[in-house]
Structure formats: structure tokens, C-alpha cells
């Protein structure tokens, strides 16, 4: 049983009251009326929240006793965690709003428990919409559901129906309706129409969309009957009312097999002045300005791409005998009847009137262009002349991550990783902003000098690693094989002479034991490696590569560093699928110390890369000079615990982590992170180049 003084003392400690105006004795009185288990519960969460922010913890402690009277502890927990998530994402003020209004949180959490979340369903929905065909679409968040013709926008949470399952169905319905607006020509027709001729253009566009919704429902029911039934059910669940008389009259025309978007435009005058119909609840309104902008940019881009790819393809075809003989290749696009397509046809490329199947890039472009224009216009079929377009416009390029940092904080091209907050005993969601960058190659004499210096060692490593290659083990006494097992044969002959039955297992056979190993090396590029540690690291990597090349294991090398969670950087030195050659060597030479040692994100990302690589055994080897450490927030226990957590995640996914360090004190914290035997301390930096390859050999045999 805690006394008021005990409670006050704890609150003083957690909330750091000596630096604030918080009256911990008053707070203690509020807690005093609780049962001991409840007191412990509130104090524990106050401590955990305080590790994130003391003011949130203070407000929590103030409200939790009352909240506990009406809510389950797990709701209180969720409330506290939600406040911390909000703090991570949006800062103190919004987090305090969450803490101030527990009732609202409870109501929202009811929505959350019955609602479907975009984050949870978007993976499935994205595959789903890719399967539906057409242009490859993207998904993104917005307040309402609408599409610009490339991205389908969806709200973060849907809780209009009573269960998670039904709300997922509603999401799916929204995706399907947007896809249908693209696929069945709604957007194309809308962009080509001037709605401003109507007295109320907004109303006209809305009514057009509504007519289209009716038409699209009919298209979907014909082509995708299962989905058609689902639309029907969702409509009923959302409480659909019947259409007014004026609308009933136009239904047959909209629902006929031959109906197209032009019919909706024709019918618009008929219903414009009549009563507005009830909406089905999943109608996606059109944002014409956004669609027009997106479409125009795409049409321009795809025209260029099409003509460039066409030129390339024709050039390739020119090499073919069938084409070489005749006149210059002449491409045409012929419509071919196809009941699978909404327009009842698809387009086929012909070359000198012979239909040919073009490469996939061209086929995809055709699909997308026909969605926008309904055909392949003649001017598209003129192959791009040399120099007609700036090649920078059509060579796929990944944006330069460095450029992104200039100016304000942007997160394009980044991957997010959770981070473990030890104080909170919970993950911080999407906390680290991770980017892959290339180490700039440096072509200096480092490689030549090092190879010369270690020439003896290199030769030795090559030999011993070569010997570890896929071993061929000799199996004896086999019923068949490529060699004769002399021992067995002698025995068998003796048996035969004795009159006993002779064995037929007289052969030897080579059996291959495949190594099938993939290993990722994670190299510390933090500022503390400046100087001879950096040299030793680079030499070690060079020797390691020379050895691994002899061995044939799949390997990748990445350097890690960063400043704060918003700049977590992984430097590519060698990817798994990259050949070891002068470029990789120059990158090894170019390794330079950068900033701090944030480790969790690097482990998590390399875990992801390793898991994408096919291998029976997957290893993650860290080369480091010390503890995890980052500017301010990653010091001490926090960094160690996050690293440990990331390693646990790696191990759970089947990866074997190992650490090689030059920190003499490594034995104090490495067992806690990597486990008692999964690390090696190389106390002499000079020894590193000799030891790394050696340790690797021991690990994998």
C-alpha cells in the first residue's frame, strides 16, 4: 500500500516536478482513492508517457483516475498510446487534446474497432485494383474518395457500417467505382465536356456523375457479377432510397449493354430540372480540374514515350529478316474486336500490315493511351526522330536523394521504419525516415596500395575460401555412381568367393552440398570511425570481397549513418545483384565517415533486403566501432534497446545477426543486443583486415 508521500515522490521523479509548476501532492491525492493495482497501473503509464513528454504524462495522471472508473484498463492504455502517437506525428498541442478528451477518444476508438483503416486495407486493395487491369493505379489518402485518373484517393478510416468486414467492403466499393470511372470512360467524357454552359455547372457535373454511377453499376454487374451483388448489398446496408420517377424513366437507357458516357450527357437535360435522386453512398464525385491537369500531363508524356519506344522497337525489328527485305517498316494501330474490353475492341500494332506483339512497355502505353483518347492517333505512329526529345525526359530516373534535402524537409522516395521506444515500451510508428544513397566512387590508389600490402593474405584467403565453395562430398557404397568404391568391391569379391551373396552397393558418387548463403554487411560510417578505423574498415571490406568472390556466396554491403530520425541514411556500397568490379571497389575506397550511429533502421532495412533475397541461410553482419548513438535522442539505453529490438525482429524473420566490433567494451553491451555468442571483439584495429574474413569463414562452416 503506497502512502501519499510515496506517490508524491514517484510523481516528482517521473514528471521532473522540480523544474515545473506541477503540484505532485495534489495529483497524489487523486491517485490515493484508487485500489493498489489501479494505482500501480496509473503510475506505470505516467512513467512511460513521461519518457516521451512530461506534460502529457502530467495531464494523463490528472485524468486517468476518473477515466478508470468508467473505462477498461485496455481502453486507457490505448488512449495513452494514441496520445503518444499523435505527439510523434503532430506535436504537443494535438496530443494534449487527445488526453483532455477521453470521451471523444472512446467514441473514436469505437469507430476504430468497427472501422476499417486505410493503412490496414491498402495493401490488399492495391493488389486488387492492379488485378482489375488497365493503367497501373496508385492509392493515397484524402478526406473524400475521388480520383485524378492515376491515383485513387481514399479516406483514412471508414466506419459507416457496423463491422470491420463490411467497412472493408465499402473501401473496396470505392476503389471499384473509381476504377470504373477510368475504365468505362467517365473521366474521358467529363474532361471533354463544357459544363459551364449550364446555369449551375456544379449541379450539372454532379448530376452527370450520378447518371454515370448508375451506368457504371450496370457495367460492373455485367462484367463482374460478384462485385455487382456486393454493390447491391452495400447500397442496402447504407440505406438506399428508391429513385424518383424522372430517374426511373432513364434507367433502361443507362443500363443497356451499349450505353456509354455520351448517353449520360444526352440524358442530362432530361433530369436537370427534376428532383435530385438519393445517392448510393459510394458515389465518387469528380474533381475536373485535377483530372484535366493529370490527364494533360500524362497525354503529353505518353505521346513522347510511345513515339520513343516505337522508334526503338522498329529499330529492333529492322534487324529481323522478314522486315529487312521489304520497304521501310511502317507501323499502324488496328482496332480488333474484343468482347473483354469496355469499348468492344482493343488495338493491335501492325508492322507493314503484319500484326506483331510489341514489348510490354508498348502494350502498357497503348492501354493507357486508349483509356485517355479512345484510340491511337495517327501522329503517335510516327516514330520519334533522333534528338527530337530530350533523353532526360524518357530515361527512367530515380530522383536524387541529395537534391531532396536541399530546401525544406521532404519525404519523397523515403521508407519509414518504426522505432522501439524503451521508455514507452512501445513502437514509435514510422519514426525513422530512411533513404538509400550511393557512396560516391573514388578512383584513387587506395585499392592498388591495399592489395599490394596484403597480397599474401589475399592469396591465402582466396585459396581457403575457394576450398569452402559448394563442397562435393564423396558418398560411398552407393548402388550407382561415377566411381568404383574399391573397399566395397574387395569385400564383395571376397563375399562372392565365400559363396555368400554379393552386395551391389559398389560405387562412389559425388554429392554436392550447396552453401546457399546470403549475407549483408552493415558497416558503421559514423563520424567516430574517422581516421584509421575508417582505413581498417575499408581494407577489411576489400579483403572480404576478394575472399567472397572466390566463395560465391551472395553478399551486399551497406554503410549506415544519420543525424536524427529524419535523416537515416544507408549508403549502398554493393547491392546483392551487383557484380564486384571496379565500381564497387571505388565505392569501398570512397567510404567516408558521416554522422551518427543510429542502428535500428539500418538493421530493419537490411532485414527487409535480406528477406527479399533467396537463400537458405541469411546472415546480417555488423561492423562497428561502438554503441549505437545519435544526436540527442538515441543515446544510452534508448539506442541500445531499439537496436536490440530490431535484432529480435531480424531473428524472428529467420536471419542470423552477428556483430564484429573494435570497441574493447563491446562485451558489456553486445551480449544484451546480439546474444551471448553472436559477436566478436577485435581489440586491435590493425587486426581488423586479418580477422573479418576469418570470422566470416568460421561463421559459415
Amino acid at each position: 500500500m503506497l502512502t501519499p508521500d510515496d506517490i508524491t515522490a514517484r510523481l516528482d521523479e517521473y514528471l521532473e516536478t522540480e523544474f515545473s509548476f506541477i503540484r505532485s501532492d495534489e495529483l497524489a491525492l487523486l491517485l490515493l482513492v484508487l485500489a493498489p493495482a489501479e494505482q500501480a497501473f496509473v503510475l506505470d503509464w505516467t512513467r512511460r508517457i513521461a519518457s516521451t513528454n512530461t506534460e502529457i504524462a502530467h495531464q494523463f495522471a490528472r485524468r486517468a483516475p476518473q477515466a478508470l472508473a468508467v473505462q477498461e484498463p485496455r481502453v486507457i492504455e490505448a488512449w495513452a498510446l494514441h496520445a503518444m502517437d499523435v505527439y510523434d506525428r503532430a506535436g504537443l498541442r494535438p496530443a494534449l487534446e487527445v488526453i483532455h478528451d477521453v470521451e471523444q477518444f472512446v467514441q473514436r476508438s469505437h469507430e476504430r474497432s468497427a472501422g476499417a483503416l486505410f493503412d490496414e486495407v491498402s495493401g490488399v486493395l492495391l493488389h486488387f485494383v492492379h488485378g482489375l487491369a488497365g493503367r497501373p493505379l496508385k492509392l493515397a489518402l484524402d478526406d473524400s474518395a475521388w480520383t485524378d485518373s492515376e491515383t485513387l484517393f481514399l479516406p483514412a478510416l471508414l466506419a459507416r457500417l457496423p463491422t470491420v468486414e463490411e467497412n472493408f467492403r465499402l473501401y473496396k466499393t470505392l476503389v471499384v467505382m473509381q476504377w470504373a470511372q477510368i475504365h468505362y470512360g467517365t473521366l474521358r467524357a467529363a474532361v471533354g465536356t463544357d459544363f459551364s454552359v449550364w446555369p449551375d455547372p456544379v449541379r450539372a457535373l454532379h448530376l452527370f456523375t450520378t447518371l454515370e454511377t448508375v451506368r457504371l453499376e450496370a457495367c460492373i454487374s455485367r462484367e463482374l457479377p460478384g462485385l455487382g451483388r456486393e454493390l447491391q448489398q452495400i447500397r442496402l446496408r447504407l440505406g438506399a432510397a428508391t429513385l424518383p420517377q424522372s430517374w426511373q424513366a432513364v434507367l433502361p437507357q443507362l443500363q443497356s449493354v451499349t450505353a456509354c458516357a455520351a448517353d449520360s450527357l444526352t440524358l442530362l437535360p432530361k433530369i436537370y430540372d427534376t428532383e435530385s435522386p438519393p445517392l448510393p453512398g459510394y458515389q465518387c464525385e469528380l474533381n475536373l480540374a485535377a483530372v484535366t491537369a493529370c490527364m494533360q500531363a500524362r497525354i503529353k508524356r505518353e505521346k513522347m514515350l510511345f513515339r520513343v519506344r516505337l522508334a526503338q522497337w522498329l529499330e529492333e525489328q529492322r534487324q529481323m529478316p522478314a522486315v529487312r527485305e521489304g520497304a521501310a517498316p511502317r507501323a499502324a494501330a488496328q482496332p480488333v474486336p474484343d468482347t473483354q474490353q469496355p469499348e468492344g475492341q482493343h488495338f493491335e500494332l501492325t508492322l507493314n500490315d503484319v500484326p506483331l506483339s510489341p514489348p510490354e512497355t508498348l502494350t502498357r502505353l497503348i492501354t493507357s493511351i486508349v483509356l485517355d483518347l479512345g484510340e491511337i492517333p495517327d501522329e503517335y505512329l510516327v516514330p520519334a526522330g533522333p534528338g527530337e526529345y530530350d533523353p532526360a525526359l524518357f530515361t527512367e530516373q530515380t530522383p536524387d536523394p541529395d537534391a531532396m534535402w536541399q530546401g525544406t524537409y521532404h519525404e519523397i522516395g523515403a521508407t519509414y521504419y518504426n522505432e522501439w521506444d524503451h521508455g514507452r515500451q512501445h513502437y514509435r510508428k514510422n519514426w525513422c525516415v530512411m533513404r538509400e544513397k550511393d557512396v560516391a566512387p573514388v578512383y584513387d590508389d587506395f585499392i592498388a596500395t591495399s592489395l599490394a600490402r596484403y597480397s599474401g593474405l589475399v592469396a591465402h584467403l582466396r585459396r581457403s575460401f575457394e576450398a569452402m565453395r559448394d563442397e562435393e562430398r564423396m558418398l560411398k557404397r552407393q548402388a550407382w555412381g561415377d566411381g568404383v568404391d574399391i573397399d566395397a568391391l574387395v569385400e564383395a569379391l571376397a563375399d562372392a568367393r565365400d559363396g555368400s551373396e554379393m552386395s551391389d552397393r559398389l560405387f562412389t558418387r559425388l554429392h554436392r552440398v550447396e552453401r546457399d548463403i546470403a549475407v549483408a554487411f552493415m558497416v558503421d560510417m559514423s563520424g567516430s570511425t574517422r581516421g584509421w578505423v575508417n582505413d581498417a574498415e575499408r581494407e577489411s571490406l576489400l579483403l572480404l570481397c576478394e575472399a567472397l568472390e572466390a566463395l560465391g556466396d551472395r553478399y551486399a554491403i551497406y554503410g549506415f549513418s544519420g543525424i536524427t530520425r529524419k535523416r537515416c541514411e544507408l549508403y549502398r556500397i554493393k547491392r546483392f545483384d551487383e557484380q564486384y568490379g571496379s565500381e564497387v571497389r571505388a565505392r569501398i575506397s570512397g567510404i567516408r565517415p558521416q554522422d551518427y550511429t543510429r542502428m535500428g533502421f539500418a538493421i530493419r532495412h537490411l532485414t527487409h533486403l535480406l528477406n527479399e533475397t533467396e537463400a537458405r541461410t541469411r546472415l546480417l553482419i555488423t561492423l562497428s566501432d561502438g554503441k549505437p548513438d545519435d544526436y540527442s535522442d538515441y543515446r544510452g539505453v534508448y539506442g541500445i534497446e531499439d537496436t536490440r529490438r530490431a535484432l529480435i525482429e531480424a531473428r524472428r524473420s529467420g536471419i542470423h545477426p552477428f556483430c564484429i566490433t573494435i570497441d574493447e567494451h563491446g562485451a558489456e553491451y553486445l551480449p544484451h543486443m546480439y546474444g551471448p555468442v553472436n559477436y566478436a571483439v577485435v581489440s586491435e584495429v590493425r587486426q581488423l583486415p586479418f580477422r573479418v574474413a576469418d570470422i566470416y569463414r568460421r561463421l559459415t562452416t
Binding site: 495493401g123 490488399v124 486493395l125 492495391l126 493488389h127 486488387f128 492492379h130 488485378g131 482489375l132 487491369a133 497501373p136 473496396k172 463482374l224 457479377p225 460478384g226 462485385l227 456486393e230 473483354q340 548402388a479 550407382w480 555412381g481 561415377d482 564383395a492 562372392a496 554379393m502 551391389d504 559398389l506 554436392r512
Partner: protein, 268 residues
């Protein structure tokens, strides 16, 4: 490991095969000119069935070997075995095919060990001989012998790519999934479902093929459609049949499985 027992037979009844293009004529012409054949294409698109059909049509026995990463040259050529104190030579499937003037079909050739190429190359060029190293002889192939290999260029592994020196010896036939109408006819015939069901299955296959490179390595093959069709023909509900015979065969990823099942549910 068990002895390799390739299926070897004369095919007496005409196999059901729907030609997608002029592959039958090209095969025949290549065979008459004693040229080896390379069948390129994704798994389950009718290559094996085509070989059966050609064997029937040309009235030759067919010997099929499914290659795997433990398959050696000796497995193909033959080896000595000891039986009752005597050493006896036992022909491997390739040697048997050469002697019998059969069609030898090496399925998924890139899976075999590299040393098998040593025996395949001399058979595949105009020497048409099989070196029998252990016997110290060369086995000359007669005019009726035919070598055909298959290869799936869809695997994007550098190790599993066919070498130019090998590839250039063969007349290549490109196989792909049949066009929608033809594929539906194949599924209806093979699985015994009505054409409407077969058409829906083909539509579903196209949806999964859209996912190739977007989370799936391969879309559903004709073979998988036939499997699903057979389940449907025996009374399994269509969506369940697609889930077990197709979705599960394509992926283990839970989100992808859900998405694929949603797609089939959309269609039926």
C-alpha cells in the same frame, strides 16, 4: 536417390492439342531437317502437351526427362551397375532415345547440372552424336531421333539463363498462354466445364497475369485453370476452387491471397 525412370511410350490416341500458331508445321519441318528444338514459354502453357501431340503425329516414342539440379550427364547417358556379381551397362534415357529413334524431351533444361551440356551439345549440332564416355564410344543418332528442350525465360535469374552457345543450336518455338477464346475452349474441354465457366476462369487468369511484376512472379497458367475447372466440375464452388487450385499455387503472401480471392469473388 531412385533410378531415373522416364516415361517412354508410343502415344496411340491422339492427344488433345489446340495449336496457337504454326508450331506444328515448324516442328515438323525442323524434325525432317534433323534440327533440335527449343520450346520457350512460361510453365503450364501447353509445352508438354504439344510434345505428346507431336510424338503421336510423327509416330515416334516420346521420352521425357524433367531436369532438376542433381541431374548429371551420367543420369542422361547411362552407367554401369552391378547385378549378381556382373557389371552391366544400363542406358540412360537420352541413350535409349537415340537408339530408339525417339523424341527426347528435356523439360526445364536450365535446371540440370552444367555438365549435362557436354553431352547435349554434340547431339544438338550437325554431328548428332551422343558421347558415351564410360563406354568410350560415340552413339550416332538416326534420322528419326529428335531432341527437344524447354526453357522458361520468365525466371529472372542470371544463373538460370540459357547460354548463347546452347541457345543458338536450337530452332526456337515461342509458347505463351493462348488467346482468351482459345484458352476458354481448352479449359472447357480439358476440365469438362461449360464454356461460360471456362470464360470466367480465363478472365480471372488475366487478372492474375496483370499482377505479374506487381507482387506476383507469374500469373495463373492454363494448367491451373484446368485444375480449378476440374474442381468446379466435381461440385466445388467456383470461388473455393479458385482459392485452392489457383491462389494458393501462386503466392503465400497473405495480402496477395486476399486480393486474389477478392478478384475471383468479383467474377463469379
Amino acid at each position: 536417390m531412385a533410378e531415373i525412370t522416364p516415361e517412354e511410350h508410343y502415344i496411340t490416341d491422339e492427344p488433345y492439342y489446340e495449336a496457337g500458331g504454326s508450331e506444328i508445321e515448324i516442328f515438323e519441318a525442323a524434325w525432317r531437317n534433323r534440327l533440335p528444338l527449343l520450346l520457350k514459354g512460361p510453365t503450364g502453357c501447353g509445352k508438354t502437351r504439344f510434345m505428346e501431340y507431336m510424338a503421336w503425329r510423327l509416330q515416334r516414342p516420346l521420352i521425357t526427362v524433367s531436369c532438376h539440379d542433381d541431374l548429371t550427364a551420367s543420369d542422361l547417358v547411362g552407367r554401369y551397375l552391378v547385378k549378381g556379381g556382373e557389371t552391366v551397362w544400363v542406358d540412360g534415357p537420352l541413350a535409349r532415345a537415340v537408339r530408339a529413334g525417339a523424341i527426347c524431351y528435356l523439360d526445364e533444361i536450365v535446371e540440370a547440372r552444367k555438365d549435362t551440356m557436354v553431352v547435349i551439345h554434340p547431339l544438338a549440332d550437325d554431328r548428332r552424336v551422343l558421347p558415351m564416355e564410360k563406354l568410350g564410344t560415340l552413339l550416332q543418332a538416326g534420322p528419326e531421333f529428335c531432341l527437344a528442350v524447354s526453357y522458361n525465360p520468365g525466371y529472372q535469374s542470371v544463373i538460370k539463363d540459357l547460354k548463347q552457345s546452347t541457345r543458338q543450336r536450337f530452332v526456337a518455338l515461342e509458347f505463351d498462354y493462348p488467346g482468351a477464346e482459345l484458352e476458354a475452349r481448352i479449359v472447357a474441354t480439358e476440365a469438362g466445364v461449360d464454356v461460360a465457366v471456362a470464360q470466367t476462369l480465363v478472365k480471372f487468369a488475366h487478372m492474375t497475369r496483370n499482377l505479374k511484376g506487381n507482387g506476383l512472379e507469374e500469373g495463373a497458367s492454363t494448367r491451373l485453370l484446368v485444375h480449378a475447372g476440374k474442381l468446379i466440375a466435381s461440385g466445388v464452388p467456383a470461388v473455393t476452387a479458385c482459392a485452392s487450385a489457383i491462389a494458393q499455387a501462386l503466392t503465400d503472401d497473405p495480402e496477395m491471397l486476399t486480393a486474389i480471392n477478392e478478384l475471383s469473388a468479383s467474377l463469379f
